[in-house]
Symmetry: C2
Subunit: 412 residues, 2 copies
């Protein structure tokens, strides 16, 4: 997080702002509503004129005009007068209460219009008061907040025809591995199709970034180095997959060295994803994720996602952490903290979490149903169904403020 | 739901499939992995050759070759031989176990390479078996499922360079109301900026539709009718906001009549949104949502969202319904079922729900933080903090199968 960069502002049309992150605090620049208005169709009156109204002795008002939403009644309403008023219209000068249409009786007499009521009204009855929804000057939404439909409504209300949002970080993806086939190639003995790259493109999009795929590289070291260099010049962050384990054919350490990148860490006490590497070159982050799909997926969510959300100035960039009931046994202890791909459900409002399928770092199938990770701290004990565990939510928009590096001590 | 239409298939590049809905069942057309492979860097051996190995009497194997991921070892491995193997590489013919690199000692003798182990291995040790992740023929993901990053990985694995997805429904939005200003217009007495349209554009996008904004209409009836006619010819569904209450200036009933549209319902026993109207014309649905922001928002999520998700062939098109603890009192009973804009939180994994702010049908501010509705069934009793209530989740991808029309009887 020390090397996390933060994005600049750009303006987008309001209709395109959904799902982006706000680049400025949103502050109410006027009261909402900006005038006293009627929440109902009815008649605006002076409440004091209704004081003696009753079923036995109704009071009649002369209807001196009518006013639709968006219009202003230009005259002063006097004693004994009423104005027919539509939902949303501004209360006429002199009036201080609204009578609902269905509680009146209307009639004509001598060419004049009247309406009659059978009970008294208090000053302020049935009026939506200026500022009751939002007061001028109120800080409504913070910079770095995800723009949801409600915030779109606020932006329109306060005149943001164009919306200042944070530019999306451009994140490059480059797959390495001599075993990789493109998605459109037929299977060949010993080879697999490159699923990681497309998975990560989707993860980048889910996190709020803009993905750029640079293809797969399985050739010689020099080709890889050129590819990484070229990619770095076009992106904010670069992700490589594969080529980071201890095998003889792994290029990544060599690439980092030749680029002069500083490796921040290249081994993490966790499963899967222990070979996740993060390096920096002139403050630009390079993520070396595992070639194993599940390890790659977990590495992205734990290490890349927070960097994307921080880029967006979001104040809770990490995966949201909550408690849940473990839905299945994990009896075999593991010295390393595990992040198990899992599916959340609710039992009468109580979060329950169960592994989403085949649980190996190489697994692809379990990722399709995963919407959470179960966090099982490493140690000498196993875990049993019914225990309370930490979960990290993958489809949540809110996130957590807790930094990843604090989770480990909290379990010790 | 009887008038819900269902979308057709289109092909999109795999990199653009995230967030779309799958147009075909996804079935594994081969085993994954498609061959026995090594999960580690190490040596492939014949387990039977290691039977007598011990710390005191290590067994040596001649290393007859090496094999990287993506390559195939072409020879048969014989008694006493081993092959250096990288993570992900196919197990050579004749071998049936893998020894991890770090558990071996390697040496050279007479120009030949050897490695030595100190314990026996069983047939199958450290092998990722063909089909262990997914078996050929397994139905993995159903038509109508939201494509998340894990499903992107599956699609790549099974060679979907192009992905059959459901076309997005095009949903028109047309605002009516003489009080409306555009977002870029300065405030004027008695007028408000049109926030509903931009809110709905975002809600459409969140639900998975493609929004088309036709502007606001506050002129005469004929202009409105032409606008609605023109819009209908371009869209799958049309939403209008405003103009649907009982006021004198409301055009919508007249528009429906002149178009020859059949009004399916125009009043609902709920708050807010009681004046929500749905009509159909030649099986094309027209939604008349309230001009009040909160009522409009609720009407969209309860009535339009399910139609969008059903269009995508999704099997759980309604908002996901769960139970939660009510975080605040609602002591005043209401004869109508209320849908209160609310914010969810977790207390040790237990869902808690509290109203997200100012709670009137005209409110805009409460929508910014809303990620759920609290459902408070109508009746003669109020609700107290701590009670268990139904909630409908707004940011969930899973949805519910329950049809909206069944919620009401279940509370009676």
């Amino acid at each position: 997080m020390e090397f996390a960069s933060q994005g600049k502002k750009e303006l987008v049309p309001l209709a395109s702002a959904y799902g982006r992150f706000l680049a400025e605090d949103l502050i109410a620049d006027h009261d909402v509503p900006s005038f006293d208005r009627s929440p109902y169709d009815g008649f605006a009156i002076r409440a004091e004129d209704s004081a003696s109204a009753s079923a036995e002795q109704p009071i009649s008002f002369e209807v001196v005009g009518e006013i639709g939403a968006g219009f202003v009644f230009s005259e002063q309403v006097e004693c004994g007068q009423a104005v027919r008023i539509m939902t949303g219209a501004q209360i006429p000068q002199g009036c201080n209460a609204v009578v609902m249409l269905e509680l009146t009786r209307q009639y004509e007499e001598n060419g004049k219009n009247y309406m009659e009521i059978k009970r008294p009204y208090q000053k302020g009855d049935n009026i939506s008061h200026q500022g009751e929804d939002m007061k001028k000057g109120t800080a409504l939404v913070k910079k770095g907040t995800y723009i949801n439909p409600g915030i779109s409504a606020l932006l329109a209300t306060f005149g943001y025809h164009e919306v200042p949002v944070i530019q999306k970080p451009v994140i490059g993806v480059l797959a390495t591995g001599s075993e990789l086939l493109d998605a459109n190639e037929p299977l060949q003995p010993g080879k697999i199709r490159n699923s990681n790259a497309f998975m990560i493109l989707s993860q980048i999009e889910r996190a709020g970034g803009e993905a750029r795929y640079f293809g797969k590289f399985s050739d010689d070291l020099d080709t890889c180095i050129s590819a990484v260099k070229a990619a770095l010049s076009e992106v904010d962050f670069l992700i490589t997959t594969g080529g980071v384990s201890v095998g003889d054919y792994d290029y990544l350490p060599e690439i980092y060295q030749q680029l002069g990148a500083e490796v921040l860490f290249n081994k993490i006490a966790m499963r899967p994803g222990s070979v996740t590497t993060v390096a920096q070159l002139n403050n630009q982050l390079l993520f070396g994720l595992s070639g194993n799909p599940s390890a790659c997926y977990v590495g992205f969510e734990l290490f890349v996602r927070p960097i994307i959300r921080r880029f967006a100035w979001n104040e809770s960039p990490h995966l949201r952490r909550e408690k849940a009931i473990l839905g299945e046994d994990f009896k075999k202890p593991n010295p390393f903290t595990r992040f198990v791909r899992a599916t959340l459900s609710f039992n009468e409002g109580q979060l329950v979490v169960s592994p989403s399928g085949f649980n190996k770092s190489s697994a692809v199938s379990s990722l399709a149903e995963a919407n959470a990770f179960i966090v099982l701290p490493g140690g000498t004990r196993g875990y049993e169904k019914g225990m309370i565990v930490d979960v990290l939510l993958l489809e949540d928009l809110q996130g957590s403020e807790w930094p990843w590096h604090e989770i480990v001590p909290s379990y010790r």
